[in-house]
């Protein structure tokens, strides 16, 4: 690699330096946060009974590692979150595609989607239990309910804002509406789909934990409720 010009070498050097600074800064922020937390809890500036402290958390975590209970709770929550996340992604892409295909359908359903999206899902979780029973399904549905409508709306919006010139090009090349979807709309919406996924994984976790608050015997949500009742 000695045949790189000076300019290129400098560019690469600069790039590497930039990456390093980003990485180190990230770690520093985390460490200083943990340090300040631990420090203020120890000196008594904040009440460690309410705020806990990193060392206490680490100890408790270690204890749960030893008796392996953490794995059960983590695993259950992870499973439920990932399942509801995958379902949300698959269903919302399918529905957004259907809406994109039919202008009529999208106009008809638009007000319903907006209303469903703004419903207070956590307040409705108890209803879900009544309908579906206190099972894993309920928790997964609770996780999905938080994310799905917003996900459909945002995906559909990104589908409709695709450059009409690019869609026209597909038609000039003899393509069909299906080609417009597969060659233009989906590929150019990939950034939107990814950012949508990032939001949804968080929302699904929120939904799943709300579900676990109410209807579970395991999972992180159950653990939180249990701990807050015994104040540990």
């Amino acid at each position: 690699m000695n045949n790189l010009s000076k300019g290129q070498q400098q560019y690469l050097l600069k790039h590497r330096k930039h990456k390093r600074i980003v990485r180190i800064s990230r770690i520093l922020i985390l460490l200083s946060f943990l340090f300040i937390w631990e420090f203020t809890a120890n000196v008594g500036i904040i009440d460690s009974f309410i705020f806990s402290s990193p060392s206490k958390i680490a100890l408790c975590f270690f204890g749960m590692l030893m008796d392996k209970s953490i794995f059960l709770h983590l695993g259950v929550t992870l499973y439920e979150t990932i399942l509801s996340f995958l379902l949300v992604i698959a269903i919302s892409i399918l529905v957004a595609v259907a809406l994109w295909f039919s202008q009529k359908l999208s106009e008809i359903l638009d007000p319903y989607l907006v209303v469903l999206n703004s419903l207070p899902k956590s307040a409705l979780a108890p209803l879900l239990i009544v309908w579906l029973g206190a099972t894993k399904t309920t928790i997964i549905v609770a996780g999905m309910s938080v994310a799905i409508f917003g996900s459909i709306l945002s995906l559909y919006t990104s589908f409709t804002t695709v450059d009409p010139g690019k869609i026209k090009l597909i038609y000039t090349l003899g393509g069909s509406k299906f080609h417009a979807l597969s060659k233009v709309v989906l590929p150019s919406s990939i950034p939107a789909i990814i950012s949508n996924m990032k939001v949804n994984i968080g929302l699904c976790l929120v939904g799943v934990i709300i579900g676990e608050f109410l209807a579970a015997r395991d999972g992180l949500g159950y653990l939180i409720i249990y701990s807050s009742q015994v104040f540990r």
Binding site: D163, G165, K168, L169, T172, S188
Partner: protein, 255 residues
């Protein structure tokens, strides 16, 4: 003479809730096989609309369009349409942009792939096959867009101001190049342009449209007395200026 394209009494209007925008009124003309015709007209008069109608993207409200003697709907003739913007997809390489039409028409074979490579080579884009469109200059992008149209081996080419995004120098060379290639391959072409000198240096005939709603004001056949009829030689011929002034005057008179 065999006619590739025939338009008879075409009318078209855009409809929106705000009202109706008539774009074309009573357009009739024909294009012979191998002929190169330029269309000039004021901005917004309906030139792109006319090409969209011929390519079948829009349907005329009145009138009929025939391609190779068949109605547009039944026609199997490949019509190549080059848009005002290159519309290259940034998420594809230049090569896969070029084969987009082949993909869509299920025509990807070893032979057509080879043709795509050959055309890229011919137009000096061989080393950019794996590049992204944003890495190319405006002229190169336009050439890639032309190749995307040409790999489909269209008999009739519709060109909608394909060179308008280029700087003057590239525009001359790319314009002349593309004009030569189209002639060499014996294709018929309809070129919409704002640039009168481009229209005159490339075409056999110039159709002048009136302002919106467009109708045909006049058709001017271009006859040059040249040993070698190339766009460059035309620009230097004495007839060039005469035609230029004629068309300019025609464009700027209100009937």
């Amino acid at each position: 003479m065999e006619q590739v394209l025939e338009l008879k009494h075409i009318h078209y209007a855009y409809h929106t809730l705000e009202g109706e925008t008539p774009a074309l009124t009573d357009i009739s003309f024909a294009l012979n096989k191998g002929e190169f015709v330029s269309i000039v007209g004021p901005s917004g008069c309906g030139k792109s609309t006319l090409l969209s109608l011929i390519s079948g993207l829009l349907e005329p409200e009145k009138g009929l369009i025939k391609i190779n003697g068949k109605y547009l709907k039944e026609s199997t003739t490949n019509v190549g349409y080059m848009l005002q913007h290159d519309e290259l997809f940034e998420w594809r390489t230049i090569y896969s942009n070029v084969i987009l039409g082949l993909e869509v028409q299920h025509m990807l074979t070893a032979r057509t792939r080879q043709r795509a490579h050959d055309l890229l080579d011919l137009y000096g884009l061989r080393h950019f096959e794996t590049s992204r469109p944003s890495e190319l200059s405006g002229g190169m992008r336009q050439r890639a867009a032309l190749i995307r149209t040409l790999v489909l081996e269209p008999e009739l080419l519709l060109l909608d101001e394909p060179f308008s995004a280029l700087d003057y120098q590239t525009r001359l060379t790319v314009g002349d190049d593309i004009g030569q290639i189209i002639r060499k391959e014996g294709k018929s072409a309809l070129l919409v342009t704002h640039d009168l000198s481009e229209a005159i240096s490339l075409a056999d005939r110039v159709i002048i449209l009136s302002g919106r709603p467009a109708s045909i004001k006049q058709t001017i056949p271009l006859i040059f007395n040249l040993a070698e009829d190339t766009p460059l030689n035309r620009r230097n011929a004495p007839e060039f200026k005469t035609y230029f002034n004629l068309i300019w005057k025609e464009l700027n008179t209100d009937e």
